[in-house]
């Protein structure tokens, strides 16, 4: 990569353009955070009289915190559900042959690219047909099922990098397939599992398109925000959004670190390839 530096001619116009794109990407986030501290609420310019009153108000708002709890419960359960099924699906795709394997692969990945409304409505019809009442359980079903796609992609990538000779050695030395799975395969996948889990957790916490159609009486946090938005804008929403943003960024930084550790070398090799 070093040789390419001689191609790096200065190009101020392009640099300014890139800066403007970054400004566009960050403008709403900056506005969001800034106005969460604005005494006079959202709107007007410039923001003046910085205050943490909206955060205080937020901490006494029990409806929001109930919805945060609901979201955390759903996200945690969705991680367990989709990681378990995603791990099995990744193992199946990596190691088994069965009729319809390529159809299965495409079907698992479909929720990743299909608009959420289609997956959400399909599951709604399924719930109605089976007589399942809409509740956090149906939301979990939606998240868990849709996010198998993410778990499978991440874990399949992880499996591809494991040296299979280790498992072969374990089997040759007399360990049962069960022992080999717990003592060799799973520890090797540890980082991929954590990375996928964090990603799924964040995605589930933020999910709205699928949730929209599967929600019962108890709201998740995005749906609670949605309901309030219909009634009007309040700086409390800025405050809770700023908090979620901070948590998301922390989770994503952790995820990114783990992911770079698992795939960094690989990506580097790919870049160096002539």
């Amino acid at each position: 990569m070093k040789r390419s530096s001689q191609l790096n001619r200065r190009s101020p116009l392009l640099a300014i353009y890139a800066l403007l794109v970054f400004a566009f990407l960050y403008l709403p986030i900056v506005v969001l955070i800034l106005y969460s501290f604005n005494r006079d609420g959202v709107g007007g310019f410039p923001p003046k009289h910085l205050t943490i009153a909206w955060y205080r108000l937020l901490f006494t708002d029990s409806a929001i915190w109930d919805s945060v709890l609901n979201s955390l419960l759903v996200a945690a359960a969705a991680v367990v559900l989709s990681l378990t099924l995603g791990l099995l699906a990744a193992l199946a795709l990596d190691r088994a042959t069965f009729p319809g394997k390529s159809i299965f692969r495409r079907l698992v990945l479909l929720p990743l690219i299909l608009p959420g409304i289609i997956t959400g409505l399909s599951l709604l019809m399924f719930a109605v047909l089976r007589g399942l009442p809409l509740s956090l359980v149906t939301v979990l079903l939606g998240h868990g099922t849709a996010l198998i796609s993410v778990a499978t992609t991440e874990l399949f990538a992880g499996l591809q990098k494991i040296d299979r000779a280790q498992e072969e050695a374990s089997l040759d030395l007399g360990a049962t397939p069960w022992q080999t799975f717990w003592r060799v395969t799973l520890p090797n996948l540890k980082l991929s599992l954590i990375a996928a889990g964090l990603l799924i957790f964040t995605l589930s916490m933020d999910e709205i398109a699928v949730t929209f159609f599967l929600i019962g009486r108890d709201n998740t946090l995005p749906l609670e925000i949605w309901a309030r938005l219909r009634r009007g804008i309040t700086p409390e929403i800025n405050a809770i959004s700023t908090l979620i943003f901070a948590v998301s960024v922390i989770l994503i930084l952790v995820w990114y670190q783990i992911r770079t550790r698992t795939t960094g070398k690989e990506a580097h090799e790919l870049l160096e390839r002539p």
Partner: protein
């Protein structure tokens, strides 16, 4: 990358293969394939006296093509999706190009800076745009502060423009990622060779870099287009009556209008449109990618 030969997987017993593949196949069959199939089935049923009757017919699809409203909204949605795609590319491509070819040590940091907004929830970013664009909003406040305008401008919010702007903001990082990856994969000696052989920067870009980045460009563009096509939240959040998109019709048919079969028929159309686009672009990507 150690690619495995087919007989590598012989080391796993039949039982092992059964145990790992049965649960996900069953789960995906029951909770994904069956619901999607149910969507197809509904599109051939009808509503009579407020209940869904399981009589197989093509009436819903006939309605779609007879009533000009549906096609009109579908075409508007496709225009808006094309707008979002184009704008995301206009923002994403120069950024990816700049980062790939003109930044040195700061590359990784800049890359992470593009990723971060991706993880701010969709809803929150839409909400932020609402507070910026509203008639009591920040943009209007800013313009009045600068004395550019004296009264609030109301057309920023609740317009197709606001929807396209919001979705462009959301999909630009998605478009950027595959673009940047494909630019990073371009062997730098090809670019040097082009310069050595006397091509200027422009010719090198048009004849070497752009063609080699087409697979990434296509992947990003497909993503932005397909996801905009099925979006219903942005029009509800920042759009007005003039920016109703096709998924809003589906949503209202499943809600207050209560005509699930018709809504299912439109969903099936969105689904088929999406899948055919994916198949088409996958073919093109395979043709354009060089190894």
């Amino acid at each position: 990358m150690p690619w495995r030969s087919a007989n590598d997987i012989e080391m796993y017993s039949r039982a092992y293969k059964w145990i790992v593949s049965t649960p996900p196949i069953l789960w995906v069959g029951i909770f994904l394939l069956l619901p999607y199939a149910l969507m197809f089935a509904h599109s051939f049923w009808l509503v009579r006296d407020g209940t869904i009757v399981h009589e197989w017919n093509l009436e819903n699809y006939a309605k779609l093509f007879q009533n000009p409203v549906y096609l009109e909204v579908l075409f508007r949605t496709m225009r808006m999706a094309a707008g979002v795609t184009l704008l995301s590319l206009l923002l994403g491509y120069p950024l990816a190009y700049y980062m790939s070819f003109h930044t040195g040590h700061s590359k990784d940091l800049l890359y992470q800076l593009v990723i971060v907004p991706l993880w701010v929830s969709y809803l929150v970013r839409g909400y932020a745009w609402k507070t910026i664009l509203g008639s009591e909003g920040i943009l209007n406040g800013f313009l009045e502060y600068l004395h550019v305008t004296s009264a609030p401008v109301s057309f920023f919010l609740y317009s197709p423009f606001a929807v396209v702007l919001m979705l462009t903001h959301i999909y630009t990082p998605f478009v950027f990622l595959p673009l940047y990856a494909s630019l990073e994969h371009i062997p730098r000696n090809l670019v040097e060779a082009s310069h050595d052989l006397g091509a200027g920067s422009r010719a090198t870009f048009l004849r070497v870099i752009l063609p080699l980045s087409l697979p990434g460009l296509l992947a990003g563009a497909t993503f932005a287009f397909v996801l905009t096509l099925g979006d219903f939240l942005a029009p509800l959040l920042v759009g007005g009556p003039s920016s109703i998109m096709i998924a809003n019709i589906v949503q209202s048919l499943f809600g207050t209008a209560y005509d699930w079969p018709l809504g299912a028929a439109i969903s099936v159309c969105i689904l088929l449109l999406t899948i055919s686009l994916l198949v088409l672009t996958e073919r093109l990507e395979n043709r354009w990618s060089f190894r």
